[in-house]
């Protein structure tokens, strides 16, 4: 039996390329303390902690949650560490939700972080194992060919990616926590930025950030006891498929489509484009907005770019996507998925500040990772299931 769970509080760091003012523990605590304050609880009220982050090689610490036990107030409590590649932030939120949904705990703290400035993600992601061809070039080198395939398949005009970049960066300027603050970015400036992994330009690429996100998830009693608004978790879903296999659709992966279908089913949503008020979607390269709009069922295959082109994904559009600025504005990799989940919660709690979508009642949080193979998603709403 699944118990109802809700997001009671959300916190995040001020994401920067280099948070030289804090240790790893300090970075996490900045997010944790804000989430606890937002939920109106203390660490002593937390029953269990779930930590998520991407590869340990990024910080050079093996299973850093062990060392972080004291900083996260986890001593004497259950502590889980999740790692599902780039989707890990989402998986962290879902694991924390499961602890409540399974009836195990009343309040669970989910923390996800990455302190990328401790090393260099391009290095860590491009270590060529022996015997192989050293053609790897980080995440951009991996995903750019699939973006080219999307453009070919959909016939999308070349400027769609730049439109997404302009929108997300301008949204990011409305979010005081966002790493990149580029309110004056323009289509021309994006289209004249350096071509990194042709067809992906510099301004269409996520930054490398230090940052953390924390979310307090509670059961019905904890939600009722909460003074502020909460975000009710209506549905969660995860799906995985292999990185490479014969017949894999890198543009519209089946794992993502299956995951979304399962999510909508559990949430009782039949027309996602009409029933979702705002979506926080994991878009590390601008072109993934139209790709995921299709994969998630917001648009027919090959048609996602039309929503973007028509401005429907802007704040005020029919389906605002990434009002927080998204991954294109802040990318502490391990936290990026939880940030999507947390921003979806903030929207339905009505606490998103300058990037609030008016009247947002139902929101999607989405994350993906690996070679477009790990997907995790949730739907949160301003009212509980069945209301």
């Amino acid at each position: 039996m699944k118990h109802q769970a809700a997001v009671l509080g959300v916190g995040q760091t001020r994401h920067r390329s280099r948070r030289a003012d804090v240790s790893i523990a300090g970075l996490c605590r900045e997010a944790v303390d804000r989430a606890l304050a937002d939920a109106g609880v203390g660490l002593a009220d937390i029953d269990a902690v779930v930590v998520g982050k991407a590869p340990d090689l990024f910080e050079g610490v093996m299973m850093p949650e062990l060392y972080l036990a004291d900083a996260l107030g986890a001593v004497g409590k259950p502590l889980l560490r999740v790692h599902t590649a780039g989707s890990v932030g989402g998986a962290t939120g879902i694991a924390a939700a499961s602890l409540v949904e399974a009836g195990r705990h009343q309040r669970v703290l989910a923390v996800a972080f990455e302190k990328q400035s401790e090393s260099n993600a391009m290095w860590a992601l491009s270590i060529a194992p022996p015997f192989s061809m050293p053609v790897l070039a980080g995440a951009g080198g991996y995903f750019a060919p699939h973006i080219r395939a999307y453009i070919r398949r959909s016939g999308a005009p070349a400027h769609i990616g730049a439109l997404v970049a302009v929108k997300d960066r301008r949204n990011g300027a409305l979010n005081p926590y966002a790493h990149l603050q580029q309110g004056d970015i323009t289509l021309d400036s994006v289209r004249s930025s350096p071509m990194l992994w042709d067809p992906v330009r510099y301004d269409e690429t996520c930054p490398s950030s230090d940052g953390a996100c924390a979310v307090v998830i509670g059961d019905v009693a904890a939600a009722r006891a909460s003074r502020g608004p909460v975000a009710w978790i209506r549905a969660t879903a995860m799906r995985t498929e292999p990185t490479m296999f014969s017949g894999k659709d890198h543009v519209n992966p089946r794992a993502g489509a299956d995951c979304a279908a399962a999510l909508w089913r559990e949430a009782g949503i039949t027309r996602p484009a009409d029933e979702i008020d705002v979506a926080e979607i994991y878009v590390p390269f601008s072109w993934f907005e139209p790709m995921w709009l299709e994969n998630l069922g917001f648009a027919e295959p090959g048609q996602g770019w039309r929503l973007t082109e028509a401005g429907e994904t802007q704040i005020g559009g029919r389906l605002p996507v990434n009002p927080s600025g998204g991954v294109l504005s802040s990318n502490p990799i391990g936290a990026s998925g939880l940030l999507r989940f947390a921003e979806a919660a903030l929207q339905v709690m009505g606490k998103a500040g300058a990037h609030q979508v008016d009247g947002a009642r139902t929101a999607l949080g989405h994350a993906y990772g690996g070679g477009s193979q790990y997907f995790s998603m949730w739907v949160v709403a301003s009212t509980p299931t069945g209301s």
Partner: protein, 318 residues
């Protein structure tokens, strides 16, 4: 079956760690040859200091000076030191409760022999020749009490230490899977050997330990030609640490004729701007005397000049 191929894999990076307020003060003090502890909510002094109290998770209220001598609370003997450890000759690891502290610090004791070690013995800090604000400013501990007047080094405020660098160097042995080993031996003989999954009939190049959709080992060997098509690609313009190919270069997904999955390779022999989806390409092998059991035997792929494959031919491989 062939023994799997093995090769060394070295992982090395000099991590740059920002310290935050508590560790920053601690490291700054080390640079000044002083050791600080933190006072916990229960009044106990922790040395080294905690950033967050194990009992309350609060940051320390204050840092206090401890040591530089202390008492061994437990120890173990290292007969053969490992790379990176504080001493290159046999030494003891010990937990040392510094004078003025209630908890113990883990560090090395240069005692000469295990016979010279005992729990309860007095030891003192041996400072590194140059202190920079790093835990290794404490070179190790050595038997003995604090010399008189050794309660602290120069107290003049050193430049605050905010960062440390910690090199992490690890050596691994990489093992190729049996299927990859067969493939690599094929390459070493100038052949491209794929394998067919007997369940779904798909041909994998390179072959995999198991068919990723069927979960069964792929066993039927299939010899493949060096020709194929570029299904999709990107032009890499961005340089990065550890990069082995000069930019710009084309990283492409190449679908070999007869294979059911593309693999990643380089396209050279034309301008990057001339590479197209559907372009016919052929493998350019290095001279046979340079061949080894590596994917790099094929230096790159080059255009054949044949007409491009129609989109329909490779659309389901994107």
């Amino acid at each position: 079956m062939n023994q799997p191929l093995r090769a060394p894999l070295e992982i090395g990076f000099d991590y740059t760690r920002s310290l935050g307020p508590t560790l920053g003060q601690f490291m700054t003090a080390l640079a000044g040859r002083r050791v600080l502890g933190s006072r916990g909510a229960d009044g106990r002094v922790h040395a080294p200091p905690f950033e967050y109290d194990p009992l309350t998770s609060a940051p320390p209220a204050e840092l206090v000076q401890v040591g530089p001598a202390g008492t061994v609370t437990t120890w173990s003997w290292v007969a053969r030191p490992l790379a990176g450890q504080p001493l290159a000759h046999p030494f003891a690891w010990a937990l040392i409760r510094l004078d003025g502290a209630d908890t113990a610090m883990l560090h090395a004791v240069d005692a000469g022999s295990a016979a010279a070690m005992r729990t309860g013995m007095r030891v003192r800090v041996r400072w590194a020749e140059h202190t920079v604000g790093h835990i290794r400013d404490i070179a190790c501990f050595e038997p003995g009490d604090a010399p008189p007047g050794a309660a602290g080094g120069p107290t003049a405020a050193a430049e605050p230490v905010t960062m440390i660098t910690t090199p992490v160097r690890l050596a691994y042995e990489h093992t190729a899977s049996p299927a990859e080993t067969t493939y690599l031996h094929g390459l070493a003989n100038g052949r491209l050997l794929g394998q067919r999954c007997l369940v779904c009939r798909k041909v994998y190049l390179p072959p995999r330990g198991a068919c990723p959709t069927c979960g069964v080992p792929t066993t039927e060997e299939v010899a493949l030609p060096g020709t194929g098509i570029v299904t999709t690609f990107c032009v890499v313009n961005v340089p990065f640490t550890g990069q082995q190919v000069p930019t710009p270069y084309v990283a492409a997904a190449v679908l070999i004729d007869g294979a059911d999955i593309p693999f990643q390779h380089l396209i050279l022999g034309c301008e990057p701007g001339e590479v197209r989806m559907g372009m016919r390409v052929t493998a350019v092998w290095r001279p046979p005397e340079q061949w080894g059991t590596t994917s790099e035997n094929i230096s790159h792929f080059r255009p054949t000049g044949e007409p491009d494959a129609p989109y329909e031919r490779y659309a389901h491989h994107l």
